[in-house]
């Protein structure tokens, strides 16, 4: 805790000094003020969603290109927050994972906050070959396990990448599903299985 605060205190002046702002600070401040003035809460989307957390601040202020030393430190912090299953098993049921990957539900002001959220994975990734309606914001994950294997290290990587994508790429466009509580342990295990299980259609 104290270490975090210290880091924040140290990082703040460093940030302003070392980062020739990617964008004009004055316009950015006005943009933030405009957002705060001109939005209203709706459904589950409350106004606190407009506030940046530390990581978002760094990415916003550096045009998503933080200096190496800062990115490394902050990625390590994100990785440290990943919670692994107590029994050490990282692969669940790929069938459940596929269902989850299909679902784009969750967190919008029209979504019922009482229902579990989906993974949104197909919005951005090609995954199983049967699904041809896939997005291209992220790389193709087809044959992910076939190409990369499913060693304990790979499982750990996939699990923690889905839990917190920013642990490996600070300003990744991919959400931090476990970190923000969108997906839980079991769901992430099912997604790991979808990507790595040799029985999964992804690896056939």
């Amino acid at each position: 805790m104290t270490k975090k605060i210290l880091l924040a205190v140290l990082a703040a002046p460093l940030l302003t000094a070392a980062l020739p702002a990617a964008a004009d600070a004055d316009y950015r401040a006005k943009a933030v003020a405009t957002l705060k003035k001109d939005f209203q809460p709706r459904g589950q989307a409350s106004l606190d969603r407009l506030a940046e957390d530390g990581l978002q601040t760094v990415c916003n202020r550096t045009g998503n290109k933080p200096p190496e030393y800062l990115a490394k430190q902050m990625e390590a912090d994100q990785l440290a927050g990943v919670k692994y299953p107590a029994d050490g098993k990282l692969m669940g049921d790929w069938r459940e994972g596929e269902k989850l990957a299909q679902s784009g539900r969750g967190f919008t002001w029209t979504d019922n906050p009482g229902l579990p959220v989906g993974g949104n994975c197909y919005n951005c990734h090609q995954i199983a070959p049967k699904e041809t309606s896939f997005g291209t914001v992220g790389p193709s994950l087809y044959q992910f396990g076939k190409l990369r294997g499913n060693s304990p290290d790979m499982q750990k990587y996939a699990y923690s990448k889905i839990w917190n994508s920013k642990a490996y790429n600070l300003c990744s466009e991919m959400p931090r599903f476990g970190h923000v509580g969108a997906l839980g342990e079991k769901q992430i295990k099912d997604l790991v299985a979808l990507l790595l299980d040799p029985e999964s259609p992804v690896n056939k």
């Binding site: 933030v32 209203q40 969603r49 919008t108 291209t136 466009e173 959400p175 969108a182």
Partner: protein
């Protein structure tokens, strides 16, 4: 009039299968082949099909129905003050002048001391000149299956009078320039549970969410992709939706709270986006899937 409605009804029916197909083309493709098909080709098949359809629809554009209603509303005396917009509303080129006004907004309006997009400006006129209450308009500003607000007709009418004209947002005006720069920052601002900004989805070329193409709003042709077709007639649901609606729905997908109707935030974002498309030809209110 009757004939047009008939055409529309036929059209709505005719498009249903196409719409379903576009969502999920090739329900059961041979598994192996599906992967070999490059993503771009899959996308283009759906897009081409729709483009073809849109071209066929050119001479009976459903938007015209809304333009006709908007024309009537623009020209008749309405509201508590019983004034016509045609005799009171200045869209930047002089009172009542609408020819080419749409492609020159957002712009700075001294009487309101604000940079306003077309929809917001017309709302301003309805409130200031005709005496309508802003809160009444803002209560249900966008169309649904059973209701089309007057403002939607009006903005479609005004947009129709910039058909085939070049976008010319006055970016050299210092107030508009500032709005553009703030809008650019808003587009880049990441926050919320998924860390999304507009640029997450619209910041580079050739990306899609599922099968939906995402225009890159930072380039002239990309930005034009975000401008052309609004206001737009949505085949799904058969409703006319405005640019303000599109901005709101993207903020929804971004997992943000809701932008207030006709607010600075939306005008600034539109200034950035439409400003980036300056010089491109606006083909008028469009048809969306």
């Amino acid at each position: 009039m009757k004939y047009r409605i008939l055409v529309l009804a036929a059209l709505a029916l005719a498009t249903q299968p196409a719409v379903a197909q576009n969502k999920r083309p090739a329900a059961k493709p041979p598994a192996a082949k599906a992967v070999q098909v490059p993503a771009a080709e899959v996308k283009d098949a759906a897009t081409l099909e729709f483009e073809k359809f849109r071209a066929e629809m050119e001479d009976s554009n459903p938007a015209e129905l809304f333009e006709m209603k908007g024309e009537e509303q623009w020209k008749s005396k309405r509201g508590p003050k019983n004034v016509a917009l045609a005799e009171s509303c200045d869209l930047g080129l002089g009172v009542g002048k609408i020819e080419g006004a749409y492609v020159r907004m957002p712009r700075y309006f001294a009487d309101a001391d604000a940079v306003m997009d077309a929809e917001r400006r017309i709302v301003w006129c309805m409130v200031e000149k005709q005496g309508f209450k802003f809160d009444d308009i803002a209560k249900q500003p966008f169309a649904n299956e059973t209701f089309t607000p007057d403002i939607t007709n009006l903005v479609t009418y005004v947009a129709g009078h910039s058909r085939n004209m070049k976008l010319d947002v006055p970016l050299k005006d210092p107030k508009v320039h500032e709005a553009y720069e703030i809008g650019k920052e808003i587009a880049a601002y990441r926050a919320g549970p998924y860390d999304f900004s507009c640029n997450t989805c619209h910041g580079s070329d050739g990306k899609r969410i599922r099968m939906q193409n995402l225009p890159n709003l930072s380039t002239p042709t990309g930005a034009m992709g975000g401008v052309q077709g609004w206001p737009g007639y949505r085949m799904t649901g058969g409703i006319m939706l405005t640019h303000q609606w599109r901005m709101g729905d993207c903020f929804r997908q971004q997992r943000f709270p809701q932008p207030k109707y006709a607010s600075d935030a939306v005008s600034y974002l539109l200034t950035y986006m439409i400003g980036n498309a300056n010089g491109q030809v606006y083909k008028g209110p469009g048809i969306k899937r």
